[in-house]
Symmetry: C2
Subunit: 339 residues, 2 copies
């Protein structure tokens, strides 16, 4: 994964995992089991794939792009990854998902009660991670500012999750505008928070910090829209998963756009199909065709690209990015915004 012109992403991932591993250990047999479940979910027990670690990598690159060596930002990276994973453990229960990254989800293995509690543990440990910043020499003021950012980000995550679940239960589709509001909280807030945290640890310049946050926010929106595209039109060979969003009735941007912009007959048919309890492959094909005629894929792709480009413009406007980190950031962006 080494890049000739950039920072080695594999090193950032390994260092983040090392930072996390210290937190999910216990020498006490009475509680070892809950830490084991944490390691299983995090993919740190050797039983399977561990995810892309996109959020900590972006945070570390943000830090390194201003300050150079990334090591001092590792507690922040660990907190963000632990926080992200707490939300995944709970999301899997909430969405009744039995599989993640080709392995059974935690609740599917250990039941809902232990999985809820393990998610709470990951959340608690994410905050423990941040205290090591004090040992690394960051001022109390800076650590507190970072904690406030983290805590506000967690509130936004819960707000976004609430909106998403409420919309899933509602009869009427959410508006495109409300959808952007929801994914801002549910997805962009944590990516923006991670990148802002990296900048915050690297500099006292509030204008630079603000630009990095804006960079992260637009990148987060672009990332979510890319995911929406892959969930409907992705190729299994390139994403590792089938595009199942329509069959699972997920009201992502392309669907909501079609509800607003399809022709009258298509719109009627869309509503009729969407109200079916089960969507067979034929219905999924027909829905995909309706979305295509409405221009939902083109619109979503155009939005994803424009948010990505806006993100990069913010990064350039910050005016402090070291070239090796810039190359790595672009590499990550290419990987996560592929559609």
């Amino acid at each position: 994964m080494a890049l000739s012109t950039g920072i080695d992403l594999a090193t950032l991932i390994a260092d983040t995992e090392g930072e996390i591993l210290r937190l999910v250990q216990s020498s006490d047999p009475a509680t070892a089991g809950v830490y084991e479940m944490c390691r299983y979910h995090l993919g740190l027990d050797g039983s399977g794939s561990s995810g892309k670690r996109m959020r900590p990598v972006l945070g570390l690159l943000a830090y390194a792009s201003i300050a150079g060596d990334h090591h001092a930002a590792l507690p922040g990276a660990a907190a963000v990854e632990l926080g992200h994973n707490f939300s995944l453990v709970h999301d899997d229960i909430e969405d009744h998902d039995v599989e993640r990254r080709h392995r059974p989800t935690l609740w599917a293995l250990h039941g809902v009660p232990q999985a809820i509690n393990t998610g709470d543990m990951l959340f608690s440990l994410s905050r423990i991670a941040l205290h090591r910043l004090t040992d690394l020499g960051f001022s109390d003021r800076k650590v507190l500012r970072l904690m406030r950012l983290y805590d506000e980000t967690c509130v936004a995550l819960c707000e976004g999750q609430y909106m998403d679940m409420r919309a899933a239960d509602a009869d009427a589709p959410m508006s495109v505008e409300a959808y952007f509001d929801m994914i801002g909280r549910k997805t962009a807030a944590l990516i923006a928070g991670s990148i802002e945290a990296g900048a915050l640890l690297a500099t006292d310049d509030d204008e630079v910090i603000r630009r990095y946050r804006a960079f992260g926010w637009d990148l987060g929106i672009a990332f979510q829209l890319n995911d929406d595209l892959l969930g409907i039109w992705g190729e299994e060979q390139s994403t590792g998963k089938e595009p199942t969003d329509i069959a699972r009735h997920k009201k992502t941007l392309p669907v909501l756009y079609a509800f607003e912009h399809a022709g009258p007959r298509d719109r009627e048919r869309l509503a009729a199909l969407w109200s079916l309890a089960e969507l067979d492959p034929e219905a999924v094909s027909e829905l995909r065709a309706i979305l295509g005629r409405a221009g939902a894929d083109a619109y979503t792709r155009e939005q994803a690209h424009s948010h990505r480009d806006r993100a990069l413009a913010e990064l350039d406007a910050a005016g402090v990015v070291r070239p090796d980190a810039r190359a790595s950031l672009e590499d990550v962006i290419r990987r996560v915004i592929s559609a």
Copy 2:
């Protein structure tokens, strides 16, 4: 509730609720629903009883017993109460409890997914609460120390909850020793944390802070054992709830003690009865009699009283308690340790 010689507990409760109410409001209709669910669970929407607020009251009294006026400690009290309630929302799901304080639990009303997320929101807001300490003039160092205490307390809570659920699923009963370890984390840690937080905000004297923590820890253990007694031998008229712990197969201290100390024939009968899926009133009576013959109630009461007395001795050893606060603390202790 005013006491002639003490601090008015009703004022402490009202001030804590005021502090919390500012955090569980939203002017944004898109997210108002999740804050409404928070207020419902907290009993702050006028729909029913709100609980004793024992933890924040003890924290505020700890602060006031050293520093006088309690107002500066309110953010800590709010955090502790929000944190306690986050764990109740999740516990209710984990234990499949459909009622709490004569009202439907959150998951029973709004489903498991929204209830999990609302618990996460209460957890996030509990940390937001602490940031107001900075506005009130506490040093960054002190606020960070308090946050570390809070975060470590949350880890202990999750460890205790893990141990409790694992024991409930196990065939063999947990040892009396393991039970004390479990309730230390699950119950005593938060009560000790709340009281330590009050002391920490009031003084820089580490010896005093240590004594207050020890006071809170023993009080927490005594409180749990009192609850165990009421759960088996309580009178509904005095506790507001039937003693249902045996019928619900809850392996509390009296049961575990009897598993270790009943005579051979009683022990065999205890195991046989306990293995029944349903315990009818006759079986419950017989179990209660077995526990009585083993001296489980006397042992548990003796343990509760000795931890309570040790708690008060630690408080006296701290040597800083103002008389009005001391009277109120004793009053709270009388209320929460009644059996």
